[in-house]
Amino acid sequence: MDAIAKSARGATQLLTGNEAVAWGARLARPQVCPVYPITPQTPVLETLTAFQAEGTFDAEIITPESEHSVMSACIPASLAGTRVFTATASQGLLLMHELLHYASGARAPIVMANVNRTVASPWAFWPDQTDSLAQRDTGWVQLYVESAQEALDSVIQAFRVAEQALLPVMVSLDAFYVSHAMEPVDVPAQADVDAFLPPFAPERRLDTAQPSSWGNVVSQDMYYRHRQAIEEAMARVPALLAQADGDWQRRFGRGWGVVERYRCDGAQAVVVTMGSMCGTARVAVDDMREAGLPVGLVKVRLFRPLPVAALRAACAGVRDVVVLDRNHSPGAGGVLHQELRAALYGTTNAPRIHGLLAGVGGVNVPPRKIAEFVREARDSEPRPESVWVR
């Protein structure tokens, strides 16, 4: 079956996470795609350019000299009223940092895939979420995905949420575990995706027919109100994502939630983590349940805005929360650990929160280790700081 026929009918394909991202982007029909290669994101770029070469993807692809210029090009393209997609990783994301703030300030609903990779120095290429977690204050909605299928679905859902909230959305997938691992992926039919995701038609845009400007100097009061408006938009995101995901589930038979609770019924302890670590934790939870231990998994799919209400509900009545952080914020420890502590602080019968720096730098964390971490946490007092474990 050729690629065009596959796209029309929908089909299961064997795809890597990166290819699934590119398929998600293609099905979302972006009009402008500035993109710069970086390991391990490069296959996203090459899949998109291959689609374009075979005539199945007609976006304007721009190949600037840096990720900084990629994001610089994304913002006004979005403000002109076109749908914009890009992808990056690690150092590339860090190089964009200034423009990430600029994009959310401009209320540009850009969607970007980020392949989570260690940040230098020293150089390394392993799965680690410090790159995107270090961007948590930039005003981007952040999703973390566990599989190639979830990556494809999330890119399309991200456009819907981005364009409703007028906020940029980042979809992060772990280097290699997700970006390069192949799995059967259901690639929806174009017409079905079109029915889910209407064309981007913003009310306000850069247009010579109705001249208006973006970026001019503002007063203190205007700036203050602008930030408030961004916060209000962020506050709408959990509901918008739940809505988009619910609609997706009705149409395609699978959903991913905002926060997923896996085997949490009656759980005395839950593992809380993000990205590919969730796949490992599922196996660990299954093993522990089989051994009679009431343990569940809480997967944080939406990290920004942090879905505080959903997390509080997921952790209510649980004695021990074990947070696995595949990231490192020097001086603070694990980012998700600190975020969870803040989210659960002041709740009635707040659980004991154990923060574990597990898998930092791509160190392997097998299921038996996770079971071990949970048993140790259960038998020890939680500490305010994150603990290095392997």
């Binding site: 500035p34 000299e65 610089s72 006004p76 393209a77 979005s78 850069l206 010579t208 001249p211």
Partner: protein
Amino acid sequence: MIAIAPVQDEMLCSGHAACPGCIDALAARHILAAMGPDTMAVIPPSCMAIIAGPQPMSSLKIPVYQPTLESSAAAASGLRRALDAQGKRDTQVLVLAGDGGTYDIGFQCLSSAAERNEDILYVCLDNEGYMNTGAQKSSSTPHFARTGSTPSGKLSRKKNMVEIMAAHGIPYVATASASHLADLRYKVEKAKAIRGTRFITVLIPCLDGWGLPDDAGLTAARYAVESGAFPLYEIEDGARVTLNVTARPRPVADYLALQRRYRGMAEADVATLQAEVDAAWEALERRAAAGAAAPA
């Protein structure tokens, strides 16, 4: 005296925030009038961004996107491609950037846009330094000029941006001066009719930064051309050189004497600068003559 036709279809409104006597606004007025209403402007932080005005006001009658200082050409590329995707291929994308945003911090993405031959007109309003922050040196600041960061005079020469841009092989590169408005209008209109990356750098004497009386901006701009310190020329397709003003009636010393930024220059330094200008001028004359003699 050359009579300049009054600007028709004003695109720059009065009441803007330029300094009294500033000729940046004068140049912008003519550039914008030549570009017309089917144009989008990209204006990074610079004097021109101040002139464009604070929200909710805008002194330009066309849409303006203000990018970060270092990203004008990349932003213009994104805007260009968005317009292309919408089928608005005739809408012009015009960058109005300063020399700091062009020669220095915005250079990397400008080179990249030129390499891709993005369909944009990039105008550098070149006042030879960071004048919006109170006059510090940029790589466009000329040899010996005093600025806040070169209080004893700049030790190195002005970066030759025109040649660098021409070396990309883009269709059109030119210099212009606010003192020669007919030439400026001609070049903007010529550039407007060309597709691909077009680059014009316009000399804009900064009254405050150069140490000029309020009414001396145009005189300084004219002396820069007449002394050969800032020759007016075009380079098409990276090769064909046209010298637009071929006479050079003034010594550089006349130009320097107008400006406090060259105060107290040693005679030997003036001679050095004159020799640099002579050498550059003669090289330009040779290339222009070679271009004229070459078969079409």
